[in-house]
């Protein structure tokens, strides 16, 4: 009984919204997927290119020759806190002075678009969808105004230098009218964890449809063993490191002894 009641309630809640969405937006649908669902970090990992591809389903479109369509993709890693420090000259020496902590900085963030994304839709839409560096929310930072003190701007610039933040206006190309693909480079320093990818379909500045997928970036094999030991069994890890060093010392002594 309870379950039936719940389902009825859900249907009642969702139904008007679904209808509204169908009335409002164009019925073209976008489907997408990623070339790989798992990225494995091994000792020889030097970065990887992943391909996001998708297609536009016109079957319910009002007329088949409408267009042109625009696509924006967002790839996002897990949020982590980061501290930004500014070097200052104290007593003639350069050292870290003022700092600011940002609680929720995506470990990776890439925007790909079929043409400059600011031309695709309005700033409000971009803001509400969190598209573009300027529209990222890094959480509450306490005192200071971001636009004035430069910490936020420098955080973005440093993340760009490390290739962890990317904005690319021509990374998506159409193959025919309905197929499209975009590629993004995950650099060597890419953080581990679950990544989400969002694909947004626009026409005339209006969001028609969106689709989401995810991929997992993780360490495998030896890397994983070392990482797990270091972070989850640090005492054994430290003792093993000492054992390794002791055996190396013993080995060197026996191999090269001059007596």
């Amino acid at each position: 009984m309870m379950r039936h009641a719940l389902i009825l309630l859900l249907v009642a809640l969702l139904a008007p919204q679904v209808c509204a969405a169908e009335e409002q937006s164009r019925p073209e649908q976008v489907q997408s997927d990623i070339s790989m669902r798992e990225v494995s970090i091994q000792p020889n990992f030097t970065g990887v290119e992943i391909v996001l591809f998708g297609s536009i389903d016109f079957s319910k479109a009002p007329s088949p020759d409408e267009g042109p369509y625009d696509v924006i993709m967002v790839v996002r890693g897990r949020d982590k806190p980061l501290v930004v420090r500014r070097k200052e000259r104290i007593a003639g020496l350069w050292m870290n002075g003022a700092s600011k902590t940002f609680p929720t900085v995506p470990g990776f963030y890439a925007v790909l678009a079929s043409r400059p994304f600011r031309a695709i839709t309005s700033e409000e839409t971009l803001k509400s969808l969190g598209i573009g560096f300027a529209n990222l929310d890094f959480g509450k930072t306490g005192k200071g105004v971001d636009a004035v003190d430069g910490f936020r701007a420098n955080l973005i610039r440093l993340q760009q230098d490390r290739r962890l933040f990317q904005e690319s206006d021509d990374a998506i190309s159409f193959i025919g009218r309905s197929l499209f693909r975009g590629s993004v480079d995950l650099p060597v320093n890419v953080p581990i964890g679950r990544y989400t990818t969002q694909v947004f379909l626009f026409r005339d500045g209006k969001l028609l449809s969106q689709s989401q997928s995810s991929l997992q970036v993780h360490k495998v094999g030896f890397e994983r063993v070392v990482y797990m030991l270091a972070y989850h069994h640090p005492l054994s890890y430290g003792l093993l490191a000492v054992l390794m060093a002791t055996s190396a010392g013993l080995l060197a002594w026996t191999a090269f002894r001059r007596e």
Partner: protein
Amino acid sequence: MLQVYLPVAEISVNLLVMLGLGAAIGFLSGMFGVGGGFLLTPLLMFSGIPPAIAVATGANQIVASSVSGALAQWRRGNIDFRMGLVLTIGGVAGAFAGVLLVGLLSRLGHADVFISLVYIIFLGVIGSLMLAESIRALWRTRAGKPAVTRKPGEHTWIHGLPFKMRFQRSRLYISALPPLIIGVIVGLLASVLGAGGGFIIVPAMIYLLRMPTHIVIGTSLFQIIFVTAVTTVLYATMERSLDVVLAFLLMVGGVIGGQFGANAGQKLKGEQLRLLLAVIVLAVAARLLIGMLVQPSVFYSLAPIAVGP
């Protein structure tokens, strides 16, 4: 380009550069008979390794070189185990304090400046003393006089302290307090600098404790094994800043370089060796100082905030 990903440092480094760095330090330590940690940590920092990781990994590497060094000294009967034990007890206490200090400073973003400053002071002072001493010695040998050595065995204020212990192999009957305090200071410095601290403990044992020189080297190596081992474990558990992949590369390079260094060292005279080492030590100190004086090209830096396990 042989890139190796360091799992804890989370950066990738060039395999050959790190092996070469280990070999260079091994070469120098084999040549001069020093641990080499005091050169390794600054060089790791110059090559972009974060200071907390450079220090922890440096300590781990020193365990290897001090084990093989101590074994060779033990075969010649040059270790005073009793003295070594007293120094180790003090050293472990000092190491604990040092790791806490580096951890605290890391979280505040001042670890690199602090480590660099301590290095500049110590390398600067010791390098200058060595330079002056070796130039004087070279001068004297050129003038045809034999090198002067100090006479041990004189009584100083140290002999008036309580808790006397008999250190048989060192032929000493002195208070346990001076070696204990020396141990604490050396342990503190060794853990902050990621070095063995031989360059501090050896002069301290010779000039303050008046131990016979041949016993000093073996006993200090014995003590360094335990202090660096404890430092390694403390950094691994308290700071998660130990990278064994990096340590392994440095050890492999170090073992190879050490053998060549020992051969090269036999071809040079003692004074020449000390002059050369003094120049290297001063060069590293100067490089660290310039790094702090010159206006940086990038003013901002990013650091992750450790989230508890």
